[in-house]
């Protein structure tokens, strides 16, 4: 049987679907993404806290937006990416895809938690409550539960390949459900308490605020990539510890 290939610019990218080839590649990429994350984060926080103007309605408290929005975007996006890799793993039976999905889950859960936590900190001064049953808050909370479910299921299965595939089914079912959950929660919210709190009616944003937010969002991206690559390397080490290539690799490179 011939090997599947995807050749772009003289590199066969499918080669990196094998943990053996991916391990050193990930190792080489991590510092770049980590440094990019650190620099973007510093730049974003600087713009957010020193350059962006004070909001005329919310005063200084709005500045938590720079962390909150980036985390909220990332929390939803990572679930999609996780489900994508889980699906790829299920269809093509590639080991690395499943490992990638497993590696992404804790980062996604982390960002979901940060989004909820900063949302509570932001809600107290602006709405006067740590928590309101707003549609977005509620669906974000359910997203956190979905992440926990995924991680708990994988943790309960000892056999890694079964864990990958069971997690993949759950992630895909979750991804189908996310829009249904979101709309049902939104609808439930308007039915029950009316739109007393509205996140979308924020006044148009100063350009510097937007720049700060985008910088922080990029920083969150870079951090997520670096963290999940690091985690996927650990998973490779753990699962392939007795593989030939790893033993050889260990002898040539300091781990």
């Amino acid at each position: 049987m011939s090997q599947p290939t995807l050749v772009i610019g003289n590199i066969n990218w499918f080669r990196y679907a094998s943990p053996q080839a991916f391990y050193p590649l990930a190792g080489a990429m991590i510092p770049w993404f980590a440094w990019a994350a650190a620099l973007l984060c510093v730049a974003g926080l600087y713009v957010g806290f020193f350059v962006a103007p004070t909001d005329h309605q919310q005063g200084e408290s709005y500045r938590i937006i720079f962390i909150h929005v980036a985390a909220a975007w990332m929390s939803m996006f990572i679930y999609l990416v996780m489900a994508f890799w889980a699906g790829v793993g299920l269809v093509f039976n590639t080991r690395l895809s499943g490992m990638m999905a497993t590696a992404l889950a804790p980062t996604g859960a982390l960002f979901t938690f940060i989004a909820l936590w900063t949302g509570a900190l932001w809600g107290k001064p602006t709405w006067g409550a740590w928590w309101v049953w707003d549609a977005r808050l509620t669906s974000e909370l359910i997203l956190l539960f979905l992440y926990f479910g995924f991680m708990a299921l994988q943790a309960a299965i000892d056999e890694p390949r079964r864990a990958d595939r069971a997690g993949a089914v759950l992630a895909l079912v979750g991804v189908v459900n996310i829009p249904i959950i979101y709309y049902s929660v939104k609808w439930w919210n308007t039915l029950h308490q009316g739109a007393s709190v509205n996140l979308t009616s924020a006044p148009t944003m100063a350009a510097t605020m937007l720049v700060g937010m985008l910088l922080m969002a990029l920083a969150a991206w870079m951090y997520s990539i670096a963290a999940s690559l690091h985690r996927v390397r650990s998973i490779i080490l753990e699962r392939e510890r007795s593989a030939d290539w790893l033993v050889k690799y260990r002898n040539t490179v300091e781990l």
Partner: protein
């Protein structure tokens, strides 16, 4: 193929009939959980009337989930499940039959007893039909979605609690729409949009979940 479906349903119902205590346990759980709320909250009639739809729906959700743990466990333990996996009949169909029988044995009794419990909460008589109908359309969805979780957690340690963690977030839309039907009816609006949405969820779930359940069973029994 329909003969297989009928056989599976018949067999599972017969099994449920022979182990009547299992069915009764779920039903009793439902009754007890619902009865605990007035004890915890207080006997104020207006308050009870307001919380009745939510309480009954949440209790139904939990009862359905508890019943799920048994859906595949016995077949898995005695090897019947393996025979189903190697059978030439599509696994999705067999699974659909099992879920249907499971709902008839554990979901339908909830639907029938719920109006009685609603009277305890002094729910308006005109709402009893809405409650029963919303549960009648909603609980099969719970069984179908829950069966994916039951298949994935088959034979795992801590299966029951894990199942709750997997399945309950996915139950949210059914809960919202189901309990919403009663709220709408209580507010004097038509509950029909809720019923239609629930029915849409049921159609979606009935069409797609059997294949997801079948895939999960194959993964779990490798």
């Amino acid at each position: 193929m329909l003969a297989v479906l009928r056989t599976v349903i018949h067999r599972d119902l017969l099994l449920a009939l022979r182990r009547r205590a299992d069915v009764a346990t779920v039903l009793l759980f439902f009754v007890i959980v619902v009865s605990l709320f007035p004890l915890g909250i207080g006997p104020e009639p207006n308050l009870l009337r307001a919380i009745a739809p939510g309480v009954i729906w949440v209790a139904a959700l939990l009862s359905c989930m508890l019943a799920l743990a048994r859906l595949f466990a016995a077949d898995f333990a005695d090897g019947t499940l393996e025979q189903m996996l190697v059978s030439p009949t599509p696994l999705g169909l067999i699974v659909a039959g099992k879920v249907a029988a499971h709902w008839l044995a554990s979901g339908l009794p909830l639907v029938l007893i719920a109006p009685v419990l609603a009277i305890q909460f002094d729910l308006d008589q005109s709402l009893l039909g809405v409650l029963a109908l919303s549960l009648l359309i909603g609980t099969p969805v719970l069984s179908l979605i829950g069966a994916i979780g039951a298949a994935l957690t088959l034979g795992l340690r801590g299966g029951g609690v894990l199942l709750a963690l997997l399945v309950l977030p996915l139950y949210v839309p059914v809960l919202i729409i189901g309990a919403g039907a009663l709220d709408a009816a209580a507010a004097g609006q038509s509950a029909q949009p809720h019923f239609l949405l629930l029915a849409a969820l049921l159609v979606l779930a009935a069409a797609f979940t059997p294949w997801a359940i079948a895939a999960s069973l194959r993964i779990s029994s490798e």
